[in-house]
């Protein structure tokens, strides 16, 4: 078994992705868990590049790390959370045990599905070959989005509009004594929608 440079890059980036995902739940401070999630996302973008999806990996970093997770940080800042003291007392031990059993059971079930589908030859396996010229480029993704997937793409804009209106309506306060909390998520959402649309163009 020879280890190529691709294998080394894959091992490093997948280890960082899993490390960030695990550390995300081990943190008391929500700001730290957002930052670990961003670390995990950057490593996942490296995995996307290995799979030839260059444009989508750039979108992942720009839209996800740059817009969505900044929205999370923004809400944490807005609520002025400091970690444990806002959480109160923990749930009872029986409830925690049940949660662990259900979570590990679901994960094992997923593992069995993957195992049976791979060893039952339901999915193509094997070493990846060379990808075609222009695979994953912005031009080809845009061509697909504006020809074959035009209707889903346009429906997405309606979804984003509904999300903007919904976020404003939900976060709005009835009384106008403290008005600084209401408009902020809507503003961030509009920005992230703009990023998506710009990237598609």
């Amino acid at each position: 078994m020879n280890i190529t440079i691709d294998g080394v890059i894959f091992i490093i980036s997948s280890a960082v992705a899993l490390f960030g995902a695990i550390m995300m739940f081990a943190q008391r401070n929500p700001v730290a868990s957002v930052l670990y999630f961003i670390l995990s996302l950057v490593a996942q973008a490296a995995l996307y590049i290995q799979l030839g999806a260059i444009f989508v990996s750039a979108i992942l970093i720009i839209v996800y790390s740059g817009a969505i997770l900044v929205l999370f940080l923004f809400v944490i800042m807005l609520l002025n959370l400091r970690g444990d003291e806002d959480l109160g007392k923990g749930s009872p031990a029986v409830s925690n045990l049940t949660k662990f059993i259900v979570a590990i059971g679901l994960t094992l079930e997923l593992g069995f599905v993957i195992k049976s589908s791979i060893f039952g030859r339901a999915v193509p396996t094997g070493v990846l070959g060379e990808s075609g010229a222009g695979f994953g480029s912005a031009e080809n993704v845009a061509t697909l989005l504006f020809t074959r997937y035009l209707y889903p793409f346009e429906l997405t804009s309606i979804l984003l509009l509904a999300a903007i209106v919904g976020a404003v309506m939900i976060a709005k306060k009835e009384r106008s004594d403290e008005t600084e909390a209401a408009p902020k998520p809507a503003k961030k959402e509009a920005k992230s929608e703009m990023t998506v649309e710009e990237a598609a163009n």
Binding site: A21, F25, V75, L110, G136, L159, A167, V196
Partner: protein, 100 residues
């Protein structure tokens, strides 16, 4: 080059971490991030299959999934703000009003 199964394995483990995170996290913001992590694990598997089948349709799907994730985060965080303003806590164990 790396075997495709390795990418599927990483995606499955990320999804499993997300499921465990949804189950065990007490902070509602961390719970929303766990949902985002599961969406990302699904995206990784879609990208891997689109590479191995040499079809780029998966990239368009990932694009739409990213948009849905953005919309979900915006609405979810708006709900978090409203809940925090009403109850002054973000512990999900306190949001059991609809539980009988």
């Amino acid at each position: 080059m790396v075997n495709i199964t390795a990418f599927l394995f990483v995606g499955a483990v990320l999804f499993g971490i997300g499921v465990i995170g949804v189950m065990i996290s007490r902070n509602i913001i961390v719970l929303l991030m766990a949902v985002e992590l599961m969406l990302n694990a699904a995206n990784l598997v879609i990208i891997a299959f689109s590479r191995v089948l040499n079809l780029m349709d998966g990239h368009a799907f990932v694009f739409l999934v990213l948009t849905v994730a953005a919309a979900e985060a915006a609405v979810g965080l708006a709900m978090v703000i409203t809940i925090y303003n009403n109850r002054k806590t973000i512990n999900i164990d306190n949001f059991s009003l609809l539980k009988w």
